[in-house]
Symmetry: C2
Amino acid sequence: MTYCVAVVLDAGMIFASDSRTNAGVDQIATFRKMRTFERASDRVIVVLSSGNLAVTQSAINLLDQRSRADDDQATVWNVPSMFDVASLLGDALRDVRRRDGPHLSQSNVDSSASFIIGGQVVGEQQRLFNIYSEGNFIEATRETPFFQIGETKYGRPIIDRVITSGTDLQEAAKCLLVSFDSTMRSNISVGLPIDLLCYRSDSFHIAYQRTITEGDPYFTMIHSQWGAGLRKVFAELPNPYWDDGTSHDSQAV
Amino acid sequence: MTYCVAVVLDAGMIFASDSRTNAGVDQIATFRKMRTFERASDRVIVVLSSGNLAVTQSAINLLDQRSRADDDQATVWNVPSMFDVASLLGDALRDVRRRDGPHLSQSNVDSSASFIIGGQVVGEQQRLFNIYSEGNFIEATRETPFFQIGETKYGRPIIDRVITSGTDLQEAAKCLLVSFDSTMRSNISVGLPIDLLCYRSDSFHIAYQRTITEGDPYFTMIHSQWGAGLRKVFAELPNPYWDDGTSHDSQAV
């Protein structure tokens, strides 16, 4: 399983992804799910991937290999918009699934895969896309400034409560780490290390990129203080007052 | 969609279920998903249901109808254990799916359904089961004293953090309502009213049963104080300290 999330804010973008891959519980391995394409003063592109690992790796390798070709093809390095970049990745994904999908189907292996791809190309605003298994995609808006892929539900409530387009970058990074903490607590197939990347709007270079491993002091603090804080808030909520025996109205047969 | 959850504690059991049913977003209706069978001093049985509504209703109707037959069949009213009760419901579910399943498949309609069934029959401890679509089932234990069915993930983190076998009944009821609040915030297909039922261990009658509707003062308080408390805990967590420009180690190509 996988958990990846990205937000696009007025101030910039934050991307985060876990690193756990499993094919059954006895085949667990660490694979990074974040890939960056950066050319200073021109473009920063970040890709997060979820789904069949052979498919996502092949699609990104194809995207990368095509970008190194000597001909006049459109590539991640020369297209004028993030929309075009997203299309290129969608095309690469379709090519891989066209080639490998039928073979996987024969063994009842799921070839589905999805990506979050975002960043900024000089001449336009920063943009964020969610690419589906079929290679089509949707774009984040001010009203819904984030995408999640993989195991999305456990970590969603805190994002719903905190993130708006006006959230600052530090707070958004904190929010995504809380979201990872909730996810990792409830699903053991999402695991450390977490790759975290911050991009500042209109900077055209990566502001910072960190790999959060076991024992990282900040993540350990988040884990313990968030858990303790939740339990405190919960303890301070009054108990229900119904337990007086007067409200018994059972529908007994 | 649906959200149902039940816990079995040293002190007793709490059951909760929402009431929203949808077949597409334009066919939303209210159907109760909690059914009780109670005979004072002898047995209390509570069923929560999720999945295809025609299937779950038919299975419970079949269980009920068979319990009214005049012959010597095993029924919810005469079997000596909750294990037997769970088997009867699993059988009823299998009968319904055997009859209706092929017709539903022809229209690509999912006939899957699942139940939580729990309670106590005189002569044994209280017990809690999760019945799968196939009619087989598992039983809750001291280590995992709860089951959820339907839209389970949004509301799971608070249960993971709070519930143990030693949790008291009031606190467990509060926890389940917080869990519903998180679920309803992230999935509009889970909705009020919530049916909530409390059973005290070895009492052989329902302690209380409430229907929590729009505007219920306790649930409204939970909703606002929990949200405010979470935001406060979040605000008090220190921001990450990495944003100093020194940790930039991008994997730029």
